[in-house]
């Protein structure tokens, strides 16, 4: 299982949990698994074409997937994936 860190604005899908478990051999598969467990999540992370939305950052063990293999970045049990929106809020 992969530990997934959930940002505050998406915790409405996880019953308030800031960290959940999900599985998948790649980030794509993990996002699909998140959608099965927490319906509605995928549309927040990806656009209609399936690409990660421009303001969404996904880190695997602290590395931005843009500098890895994007959605094809491989995952293994024990990895940590963080979903971090571009900064938002009152200045």
């Amino acid at each position: 299982m992969v530990q997934v860190k959930i940002p505050t604005p998406l915790r409405k899908y996880t019953a308030g949990a800031g960290s959940v478990e999900a599985q998948g051999a790649t980030v794509t598969a993990l996002v699909d698994d998140l959608e099965r467990r927490y319906p509605g999540m995928k549309a927040r992370l990806c656009d209609e074409s399936g690409q990660v939305r421009r303001f969404v950052n996904i880190f695997v063990n602290g590395e931005d997937i843009r500098f890895l293999k994007h959605l094809d970045t491989p995952l293994k049990a024990g990895d940590e994936l963080s979903i971090v929106p571009a900064i938002a809020g009152g200045r």
């Binding site: 959930i6 505050t8 421009r54 303001f55 938002a88 009152g90 200045r91």
Partner: protein
């Protein structure tokens, strides 16, 4: 390529007397308006659109106005005095503004910000001599607010906290400066004022002043269309800690803006108007066009809170070349 436009006018000549001030903070305010002539998307010729370029403030954003006013107010009340440190939570521009004014007045500044604020912001506050304290990026600006409260509670006598979210001096700054400037710059012709909401200070204070001059002026807020968004500096009020200075009933209209639409507007304003602004300005201009489409006549002033160069390392510009087709 875009077609070159006809020359519309000459650059404004220098003032007859040199502009000078005895300190940087005296240069806050009096920012220019510029007419938006291309990014109008077919709105009626009787509607004029103006951007108020807050990036011309010495700290680079609209936040210089409330930062200066809150510090002046603190000094006047004796809440800020020698030996105290200015402390606040901020996701960026207010921090830069407080750091700038603090440096100009000789007060130390400590700022709590989410660790995912842009690299440029972190560097600028440190360059002004301020200390940056980072909060959990997953919790956004509300996480910074909470951490700042904790730091203050541990040493309340050490700090002066302007508290931009609850300090009446924040909207008051706009009531005293932004509002009168817009009224004067449009010769009282302004019919609509459009701005993003972060703390709500800009739209509350400016709106109140303009309504007092002409109750028919419409005050329109642009906000992110969802709690999960990428519009740095703006708050989705329904899912946030609502600032004490924000009163939604003072608004005539609130328009939800999608992050992608705001980002695309930033690219257009740069390429079509020669105005490189930040994403909150893009959001405000999307809202302004929506307002404008319903009008035959009007004078709309849109607040462009800052320039875009301090966002070049952020998601706003990551991958944009691919979108524009200029990179594979």
């Amino acid at each position: 390529m875009l077609r070159a436009r006809a020359v519309l006018g000459q650059p404004i000549p220098p003032a007859s007397e040199p502009l000078s001030a005895t300190s940087a903070f005296q240069l806050v305010g009096n920012t220019p308006l510029v007419e938006i002539r291309r990014v109008r998307d077919g709105i009626a010729p009787g509607v004029r659109l103006f951007g108020k370029l807050e990036g011309f403030n010495p700290g680079g954003s609209v936040k210089d106005r409330p930062a200066l006013k809150m510090i002046q107010d603190g000094l006047a009340r004796g809440a800020l005095r020698p030996g105290k440190t200015i402390l606040d939570s901020t996701s960026g521009n207010t921090g830069i503004a407080l750091a700038m004014v603090g440096a100009a007045l000789g007060y130390p500044v400590e700022l709590v910000m989410p660790s995912n604020v842009s690299v440029e912001r972190k560097k600028v506050v440190v360059a002004f001599g301020a200390k940056a304290i980072y909060s959990d990026p997953l919790e956004g600006s509300d996480g910074a607010i909470r951490l700042c409260r904790k730091i203050l509670a541990e040493a309340p006598d050490r700090y002066f906290k302007p508290d931009q979210y609850n300090n009446a001096a924040n909207p008051q700054a706009h009531y005293e400066t932004t509002g009168p400037e817009i009224w004067r710059q449009t010769a009282g012709e302004v019919t609509h004022f459009v701005a993003g909401i972060g703390t709500g200070g800009t739209i509350m204070g400016t709106g109140r002043y303009l309504k007092e001059q002409n109750a028919a002026v419409q005050i329109v807020a642009a906000e992110p269309d969802d709690a999960f968004h990428g519009l740095e500096g703006l708050k989705h009020m329904a899912s946030s800690i609502v600032p004490g200075i924000y009163h939604e009933d003072a608004l005539d209209r609130k328009i939800g803006i999608a992050t992608d639409d705001a980002y695309n507007m930033v690219y257009r304003l740069g390429r079509e108007e020669g105005l490189l602004v930040g994403q909150s300005s893009g959001a405000a201009h999307v809202a302004a066009l929506e307002v404008a489409r319903a009008l035959e006549h009007g004078t709309i002033v849109v607040l462009f809170a800052d320039f875009g160069d301090r966002y070049l390392s952020t998601n706003l510009w990551l991958g944009w070349q691919r979108l524009q087709g200029t990179l594979p």
